[in-house]
């Protein structure tokens, strides 16, 4: 039997306002080993697509399938969100607990882990991301780049099957970015990464897509080598 994709979008239509339709009839499958780089001009709806996938906004038409099953109830959405980790564009929204450890343990606790297990898992995750020593820091005293990495940790600690990364390199210095590249390259988790940083995207993705005229288009990687890009 063929394994159903983790997420499938079927004939999705969506717009915030009537004058500007963002998506028209989008179909898309996100499979277990996909590592997709997702790029496109500002305001074309990349973040919006992620929000549709995790059900923060609902499409006007069409449906989202999670492991082959259409998602309807809030409980199903919750299950989907625990399996598909979304790292937000703005880390200050993602980190809402007073200390780093509280924040990284928040997801595991919601998964039903016992407090000491959740703590252990949080510490482990911080260690894998090279953030050991930050656990007792107050969140608001972190630098922008540290916040960014901790918000990744807060999602990774849930051990999701798939990651949605919204501009993960924003505000990272070259060293932190290199560390992130190394981490992501070793990470078997399926992911879609939004980024405007071509080199970064090339390094961590196997396939690429963009949005044009309200549709998702696959782009093959030597597209990047040809000088005149579509934008």
């Amino acid at each position: 039997m063929v394994e159903p994709p983790i997420i499938a979008l079927e004939h999705i239509f969506f717009s915030y306002t009537e004058q500007t339709p963002l998506f028209a009839d989008i179909c898309f499958a996100f499979n277990r080993d996909d590592k997709i780089g997702f790029f496109g001009p500002n305001g074309k709806g990349k973040t919006t697509l992620f929000r549709l996938i995790v059900g923060l906004i609902k499409p006007e038409k069409g449906q989202v399938l999670f492991r082959g099953v259409p998602v309807h109830t809030e409980n199903q959405w919750r299950e989907l969100r625990c399996a598909v980790g979304f790292v937000l564009q703005n880390a200050d929204d993602q980190l809402f607990c007073p200390t780093v450890l509280d924040d990284v343990a928040f997801g595991p606790l919601n998964l039903g882990l016992a407090p000491d297990e959740a703590k252990k898992r949080a510490l482990e995750t911080l260690k894998t991301l090279g953030l050991e020593g930050l656990e007792n820091r107050l969140t608001h005293t972190l630098s922008g780049g540290e916040k960014k990495l901790v918000s990744l940790a807060s999602v990774m600690s849930m051990r999701p099957d798939a990651l949605l990364l919204d501009e993960p390199t924003n505000g990272l210095d070259p060293e932190a970015k290199a560390r992130l590249v190394a981490i992501l390259k070793n990470l078997p988790t399926a992911r879609i990464t939004i980024s405007h940083d071509w080199d970064f995207l090339m390094e961590i993705s196997h396939s690429f897509m963009t949005i044009n005229n309200g549709k998702l288009i696959d782009v093959d990687s030597d597209f990047f080598m040809r000088p005149p890009h579509i934008y």
């Binding site: 929204d93 509280d102 407090p115 000491d116 608001h140």
Partner: protein, 255 residues
């Protein structure tokens, strides 16, 4: 604006389970607030000061906090004795200094400082996250606990936002003066801060949902009550009991 000078590890008292410290401090505050007699209030100050010595908080920060509290009490000293009425012990021009007024001002001053001592000694060294989780374990309503946590987390973000807007305005040549235009600009900026905060609250709620939040508050904090916690609480209860007894039967202790 939001410094936290009391957050440092203090020996002994800090090792008492925070839940016990919170309960003791609250009981102390309620009892002292109800006290009517000077001897009991004095005893309260003595015990509270002893706790403060045990906790050994940063002296500078402590004095600053106490000074702020006592500024309000100075106003009481200025107004209450002159306006209270009753038999007077001195006259200042048209005003009479009343005996009952002096008594009341002294009582309030003693009680306020005793309560402040207790809270600085017992509650101030608790970090906000531990405080919230202890309150939650003490069956405090979950909504209020969330409110406390989020207020703490986001007050800095909002402060930063305000500073950012203010800097942005200054960079474009804005200089605050006392005129209508300045008030208009400041009001706009304040409005923007509120709008941003409101939108942020929606985004934070989304972020919580994204990590599987379903309305139940959970925490990694593990609290274990040990023998010393009960000993401490017992001693505190005995001290509190003696203050209350002294307040109810003040004459008996004069022999």
């Amino acid at each position: 604006m939001c410094d936290t000078p009391f957050l440092r590890e203090v020996p002994f008292l800090c090792r008492i389970d925070p839940r016990f410290r919170i309960v003791v401090a609250t009981a102390y505050a309620i009892a002292l607030a109800a006290i009517q007699n000077l001897p009991a209030a004095c005893l309260g100050v003595v015990f509270a000061f002893a706790l403060l010595l045990l906790a050994r908080p940063n002296p500078g920060a402590t004095c600053k906090r106490l000074a702020i509290i006592n500024i309000f009490i100075v106003f009481l000293w200025i107004t209450v004795p002159l306006t209270m009425g009753g038999d007077s012990i001195a006259a200042l021009g048209p005003f009479h200094v009343s005996r009952a007024g002096i008594f009341l001002a002294l009582l309030v001053a003693l009680k306020c400082n005793a309560i402040a001592f207790v809270f600085i000694a017992l509650v101030a060294p608790i970090t906000i996250s531990v405080l919230a989780h202890s309150l939650e374990r003490l069956r405090f309503p979950a909504k209020l606990v969330f409110l406390l946590l989020f207020a703490y987390r986001y007050i800095y973000v909002i402060e930063e936002e305000w500073k950012r807007l203010y800097t942005a305005a200054k960079l474009r040549g804005f200089r605050p003066k006392t005129n209508v235009r300045t008030y208009g600009v400041l009001a706009n900026m304040l409005g923007m801060v509120f709008v941003h905060s409101f939108e942020r609250s929606a985004r934070v709620y989304e972020a919580m949902q994204l990590r599987g939040f379903c309305g139940k508050f959970r925490s990694i904090a593990l609290f274990q009550s040990r023998l010393r916690d009960f000993v401490f609480t017992g001693a505190a209860a005995a001290a509190l009991g003696s203050i209350i007894l002294l307040d109810i039967f003040p004459g008996k202790f004069h022999g």
